[in-house]
């Protein structure tokens, strides 16, 4: 056991800087930077755009949790083993006196660490972007626009947007409601850990884990997670959303009512996510321990 932990730690230490400098990490970092930039832009430059709380909730739910977390996890997680196979360097690792599972777990830990840092930056950046603009934000007055159409008739239109009172009252001091940021961060990090473990395990037995992972995350989960009914419980997204709903559920319901089934408790959601993560790593470890990887010269 000590040997397994030591080797896992060695893999983590060796691969952490390499994951940081990888091109795919740059891609993920760009995606992470986009989320707070979108929120900032909406508040700063769109007069009849969202209120500050909406500028947090919508990007957090639809960009971060639904798209960026699984996408970033596919990009980094699927490379954990398949990169060594594609580069044909796995031979050096498989012919050393180590537990093969430590290759998977150590490399996954390195990928998950980088993901956690980037996604924490993204959620934190989103909070900062929203809170920096919130004190100056005022609901824009309705504006009437007049123009002449092709037939020469004068037309007018009033631009206004109804914002629910819950949203208008959500940030009276210009700060996010208590617990909202913490729940969002926890769900994001849990999602990154679970998805990346799932796709890392997939890479132990599939030669194209990125393609299969994208198919799973956005076709299968995308369909099941947004289908009303109990089928949502078959997805990672359901448990992540349950974690979100632990704080300020009334706000989340206003944002994504159609996507939200009756959530599990945070404890049950965490337990389910922990089981998925453990099963993924155990299954991946079992496969890599028994499988022979046939490489061409």
């Amino acid at each position: 056991m000590m040997s397994f932990l030591r080797t896992t730690l060695l893999f983590w230490r060796t691969y952490l800087p390499r994951v940081c400098l990888a091109r795919r990490t740059l891609l993920v970092a760009l995606g992470c930077a986009l989320v707070p930039l979108v929120a900032f832009g909406l508040l700063k430059f769109v007069p009849h755009g969202p209120s500050p709380i909406e500028a947090f909730l919508y990007p957090a739910f639809f960009m971060l949790l639904s798209v960026l977390v699984p996408l970033a996890a596919v990009i980094t997680g699927s490379a954990v083993i398949s990169e060594e196979v594609d580069d044909r360097t796995i031979t050096y690792l498989l012919t050393r006196p180590i537990s093969r599972a430590s290759i998977l777990v150590g490399r996954w830990l390195a990928a998950a660490t980088v993901l956690a840092v980037l996604l924490t930056g993204s959620v934190g950046g989103l909070k900062l972007a929203v809170e920096s603009q919130a004190p100056d934000w005022k609901k824009a007055e309705p504006r009437t626009v007049t123009w002449t159409d092709r037939r020469g008739e004068t037309r007018t239109r009033t631009i206004d947007r109804d914002i629910p009172a819950e949203f208008l009252q959500a940030m009276p001091e210009g700060e996010l409601p208590e617990g909202l940021f913490g729940a969002m961060l926890a769900a994001t990090l849990a999602g990154a850990a679970v998805y990346s473990a799932l796709f890392a395990a997939l890479g132990t037995f599939n030669r194209h884990p990125m393609i299969v992972g994208l198919g799973y995350a956005f076709a299968i989960e995308g369909f099941l997670a947004n289908l009303p009914g109990t089928s949502q419980q078959l997805t990672v997204q359901f448990y992540l959303r349950s974690m979100l709903m632990s704080e300020n559920p009334e706000l989340w319901r206003l944002v994504a009512e159609a996507q939200l089934a009756e959530p599990d408790t945070t404890r049950a959601a965490l337990l389910a996510l922990a089981v998925i993560l453990a099963v993924s790593l155990a299954l991946g470890s079992l496969v890599i321990s028994r499988r022979q990887y046939v490489l061409s010269a």
Partner: protein, 306 residues
């Protein structure tokens, strides 16, 4: 002395493609060369020995162990795979040091061993350069360094001389000879017979996934020399030379080509060259060049398997 490798009816397939078929073989210690054309099964055999693959059928034992995924066995073996790949974003020193850490050495000892191994393969000066900037020969040396750095009992090297220049080949051949002299067992493959011949008199011939021959290289060479060969000669007086050659016993046919070359077919090339050397000064035929064709391994193997 117990055998180094014992393979009993070993079979290995890549889908529908046969890698090895019913291979039964015993290899004693020391340096052994594995020879055969591309696709003969040398690499598959070495991957089985190194524990990278496991046999689909039969049984293989190396140093008394079943090699596949055997951690105790991996402490005793060093593997230099055929593929050129190595982590390009690491320096040569980092690669060997990392793999020594995986072999269980403490950081300082791993670094010391990495230095020593890189020095031994002549790569010490380039140790702090990233391997992405290495030449093919330098990558080959790095692979050899990581295979020998932990002083294994057995070194398994798959085509280790590929990509090396003549000087590099001689150096690595000398290194393998030193390892052998120091008591290390070495299994080395090549598709070029004379490369292996320079390393060891003990060779194993593979062809189409089967064992073709095994034994001292002299025996195999004698077998190969009886393979019918075509020899082309350019001479001042081609007709006179052809007439003289016709009279030689090992010559089966002589033909003068349109460009004046004399094409000779012989069933015993060694005897032919002996007799040619004797008659050339006597007959004063003005021989300018001699070329021997059909000497590539593929044609020799085709001949040997009938």
């Amino acid at each position: 002395m117990s055998a180094l490798v014992v393979a009993d009816k070993v079979g290995c397939w890549y889908g529908q493609v046969v890698g090895l078929s019913e291979l039964t073989l015993t290899i004693q210690g020391g340096i052994t060369g594995l020879v055969g054309p591309n696709g003969a099964g040398k690499s598959t055999f070495l991957k089985l020995v190194a524990g990278e693959l496991r046999p689909a059928r039969g049984d293989i034992r190396v140093l008394g162990h079943a090699p596949f995924a055997n951690r105790e066995y991996f402490r005793r073996v060093g593997f230099c795979p055929q593929q050129e790949a190595i982590w390009g974003d690491m320096t040569g020193l980092e690669v060997v040091e990392f793999l020594m850490r995986l072999s269980g050495y403490a950081p300082s000892e791993a670094r010391r061993r990495a230095h020593a191994a890189l020095d031994r393969v002549g790569l010490l000066d380039a140790r702090t350069r990233r391997t992405a900037g290495y030449s093919k020969g330098m990558r080959q040396r790095t692979k050899i360094a990581q295979a020998i750095a932990h002083d294994p009992e057995l070194v398994v090297a798959d085509e280790p001389l590929n990509g090396l220049d003549p000087v590099g080949r001689a150096e690595i051949q000398k290194l393998f000879a030193e390892l052998g002299a120091a008591g290390m067992h070495v299994l080395v493959s090549s598709h070029v017979l004379h490369e292996v011949e320079a390393l060891t008199p003990s060779i194993v011939l593979f062809h189409r996934g089967r064992l073709l021959a095994q034994g001292p290289v002299g025996e195999i060479r004698r077998l190969l020399s009886r393979h019918p060969r075509r020899v082309e000669l350019v001479a001042r007086d081609a007709r006179r030379l052809a007439a003289v050659l016709m009279a030689l016993e090992p010559v089966s046919s002589v033909r003068i080509a349109a460009d004046g070359r004399v094409a000779v077919e012989t069933g015993d090339v060694e005897r032919f060259f002996r007799e040619l050397t004797a008659l050339a000064p006597r007959e004063r035929a003005g021989i300018r060049s001699i070329e021997s064709h059909d000497a590539n391994l593929e044609s020799v193997f085709d001949y040997l398997v009938g």
